[in-house]
């Protein structure tokens, strides 16, 4: 098993190719790997429950983290987050990518 970390920095309403990250993360998860999607910068706009964007990832068992600073910069409160999305410090991203046998992709 390999650990995969996808860092999504793009606004899903601005960049339709965020769909590629969703599809890839789910496909990798279905193959038995551990998958984390870390939302940062405008990527956290997908983290709001009302955005309705992350349901398939959560259902697939992908770990969903949203950068705390990016959330605060955009006025998104913890209670607005979609089920399965966890507010996270950048330290957690560092912990995730500094593991052995981990592949990291920035989008």
């Amino acid at each position: 098993m390999t650990n995969y970390v996808f860092i999504e920095s793009r606004d899903p309403f601005d960049s339709r190719d965020t769909h590629f990250v969703e599809e890839t993360a789910i496909a990798v998860k279905e193959r038995g790997h551990e998958v984390t999607v870390f939302l940062v910068q405008n990527g956290v706009l997908a983290a709001r429950e009302r955005a309705g964007r992350l349901g398939r990832l959560a259902e697939a068992g992908v770990t969903l983290l949203a950068d705390d600073v990016s959330l605060r910069e955009r006025g998104i409160r913890p209670e607005e987050l979609a089920p399965g999305v966890h507010e996270s410090a950048i330290d957690q991203l560092v912990d995730a990518i500094a593991r052995e046998n981990t592949k990291t992709m920035w989008h």
Binding site: Q41, D67, V69, I97, A98, T102, W106
Partner: protein, 135 residues
């Protein structure tokens, strides 16, 4: 615990993208955890540690340099290099050809000139590598 090392490749120039801020936050957090960090600055990112950057006043608002407290990426890079001067170690390499194209050789202390061959070596010897491309 085995020494861990992260390599980051950066490409965005300063003051253009939130990618730079996030990259600097990642580097800072990694160093705080005792993780060695290699940075390979490519394309516009070679200007991040440019010594000629200067904070400025804002004549539109009538504010002084002191009022503005304008942050410079060269100051951030210098601070990170101070944090990572030994254990953990921060190694910052600017792509030499990118530097020449931009006339960006005057950089803060601790930054060295290199080539993509350095990036290859860094990546092969690291726990993991993160490439942060321009959009």
């Amino acid at each position: 615990m085995k020494n861990r090392t992260l390599t980051l490749a950066l490409m965005d120039p300063p003051y253009e993208s939130a990618n730079s801020t996030t990259a600097l936050r990642i580097i800072s957090a990694a160093l705080a955890k005792g993780i060695n960090v290699n940075v390979f600055a490519y394309e516009g990112a070679v200007c991040l540690p440019l010594k000629d950057q200067a904070p400025h006043a804002n004549p539109v608002k009538g504010t002084t340099v002191e009022d503005e407290e304008h942050p410079t990426t060269k100051a951030f890079v210098s601070s990170l290099l101070a944090l990572g001067k030994d254990k953990p170690l921060l190694t910052w390499v600017n792509c030499g050809l990118c530097v020449d194209e931009r006339g960006a050789a005057n950089v803060v202390e601790g930054v060295r000139r290199g080539s993509p061959a350095d990036f290859f070596k860094m990546a092969t010897e690291s726990t993991n590598t993160l490439v942060i491309p321009t959009k």
